[in-house]
C-alpha cells in the first residue's frame, strides 16, 4: 500500500501540474478578491478567513477528478480491484495522496496569502491549523464524489455539483475554528468537531467510495 502512495506521488511529480496547479489557482483567487472588493485592509482582513477557506476548497475541487480517472482510463483501477489489496484501502491511500499533492501545499502557502489579505502574523496560526485539520476531509469527501463520476465522460462539472454541497459542514467548522481563533474566543468546540469530521470522513467514506467504484467498474 505504501507502494501505491509512492507511485501516486511520483506520478503527480512527473505530470508536472500535480503539486503546482492547485496552489496557483489558490493564489489567483486570493489576488482576485481584493481587486473585486477594494484595497481596504480592514475589510479584507475581515473576509480573509472566508476567502482562504473558499479558495482552498475550490482549488481542491479542481483536481478531484484526477484521483481515479487516470487509473480508470488506462485499466489500472480494474487490475487493482482484482489485486490482493482491498479496494477500501486503495481509496483511502488515493485520497491521502490527493491531500499530500493538493491539500498540504495549500496549507503551506496559506500564511503568505493570509498576509496579502491583511492578517497579522500572530493570526496566521489559526488559519494554518484549521486548514491542516480540515483539508484532509475535503480529499476524502472528494474521493467519494470522484468515485461516483469516474465512469462519466466530462464529469468534471457534475463532480463539483455533487461534492460542493457535501463540503458545507467542513467549510463551516473549518472557517469557524479560524475566525474564532482570530478573535481570541474559545474555539475548542469547533476544533473538536472539525477533527471528528476529518477522522470520520477518512474512516467511513472509503467504504462508500469502494462500493460505488465496484459498481462503476462492472
Amino acid at each position: 500500500m505504501i507502494a501505491l502512495l509512492q507511485r501516486d506521488l511520483l506520478l503527480a511529480v512527473r505530470a508536472g501540474g500535480g503539486f503546482g496547479l492547485g496552489v496557483a489557482f489558490f493564489l489567483i483567487v486570493v489576488v482576485l478578491v481584493p481587486l473585486g472588493i477594494g484595497p481596504d485592509m480592514v475589510i479584507l482582513s475581515k473576509v480573509s478567513v472566508g476567502v482562504l477557506w473558499v479558495g482552498a476548497l475550490l482549488a481542491c475541487v479542481l483536481s478531484l477528478d484526477r484521483i481515479f480517472s487516470l487509473d480508470y482510463d488506462d485499466g489500472t483501477l480494474e487490475l487493482l480491484l482484482t489485486s490482493p489489496i482491498p479496494l477500501e484501502a486503495v481509496v483511502t491511500i488515493k485520497a491521502f495522496s490527493h491531500w499530500i499533492t493538493t491539500g498540504l501545499p495549500l496549507v503551506v502557502v496559506s500564511p503568505i496569502l493570509g498576509l496579502l489579505l491583511g492578517l497579522q502574523v500572530s493570526d496566521l496560526k489559526w488559519v494554518v491549523i484549521s486548514l491542516l485539520i480540515g483539508t484532509p476531509a475535503l480529499s476524502a469527501i472528494g474521493a467519494f464524489g470522484a468515485s461516483l463520476t469516474v465512469g462519466i465522460r466530462r464529469g468534471g462539472l457534475l463532480l463539483s455539483l455533487l461534492v460542493l454541497p457535501l463540503y458545507v459542514p467542513t467549510l463551516i467548522f473549518g472557517a469557524n475554528v479560524a475566525s474564532k481563533g482570530l478573535e481570541d474566543v474559545s474555539n475548542n468546540g469547533a476544533l473538536l468537531i472539525l477533527t471528528a469530521v476529518t477522522l470520520a470522513a477518512f474512516s467511513i467514506l472509503p467504504f462508500a467510495s469502494a462500493f460505488v467504484l465496484r459498481i462503476n467498474l462492472r
Partner: protein, 206 residues
Amino acid sequence: MLLSVDNLSVSRGGVSLFEGLNFTLSSGQFISLTGGNGTGKTTLLRSIAGLQPIDKGEILIDTDNFIFAGDSNGIKTSLTVSENLRFWSAIFGGKEFEEALEVFHLTKFENRFAGKLSAGQKRRLSLARLMLADKAIWLLDEPTVSLDKKSMEEFSKILKNHLEAGGAAVVATHIDLGLKTHSSNINIEDYRTKSGNLNASAGAFL
C-alpha cells in the same frame, strides 16, 4: 480443482449473453475461449474475476489465487518500465522483477518511460505483471494483441512453463498458442442464450 463454473449465465446491457455454461479448470490445464465479437468472452472472464455480477449459476474460485489481465494494459506512461513493474511487484507481495524483465526481453528498456514503448512492447510489459504475482490461475483477455510472431511464440512458452509448474489458465484468444497437452477449447457461441432473452432486471418490466 482450481476453478469450477456451474450452470452460469451472464448478461450485458440487459440482454442475456450465454446460459448453462459448465466447466472446470484443474492444475496444469489450459482453456481457450473462442467465439465471435460480442458473444461474451470478455464478460465471462470479468465474471470469473469478480468484476461483473452474474445472473444465474455459480463460480467457485479461490479469490486469492488468480490474476486477471484485461484488454487494457494498465501501464503508467509517465513511469519507467522498471517503475511500473516495481509497483505491481509491491502490490503482489514484493517478488523480484528482474526475471520477468528478462523473460519478456524488456531489460534493455528498463529505464525507458513506458509511454515511449511500442504497442507490442507495452503489451509485453503488461504481461510481465503475470510473473510477479505467483498466482495459479491466469485469466487473460486477448493477451497476444499487438505481439509479433516471435513474442507470441515466447509467450506460449511462458504459458507452457506456467502450466507445467502446476498453474492453469483461461484465455480468450483466436490464435492457436500451440499448447497441445492439457488444452481444451470452449466456444461460447455454443452456449448462446435463445434470442430475445432478457436478464432478470430488464425482464421484470415485461
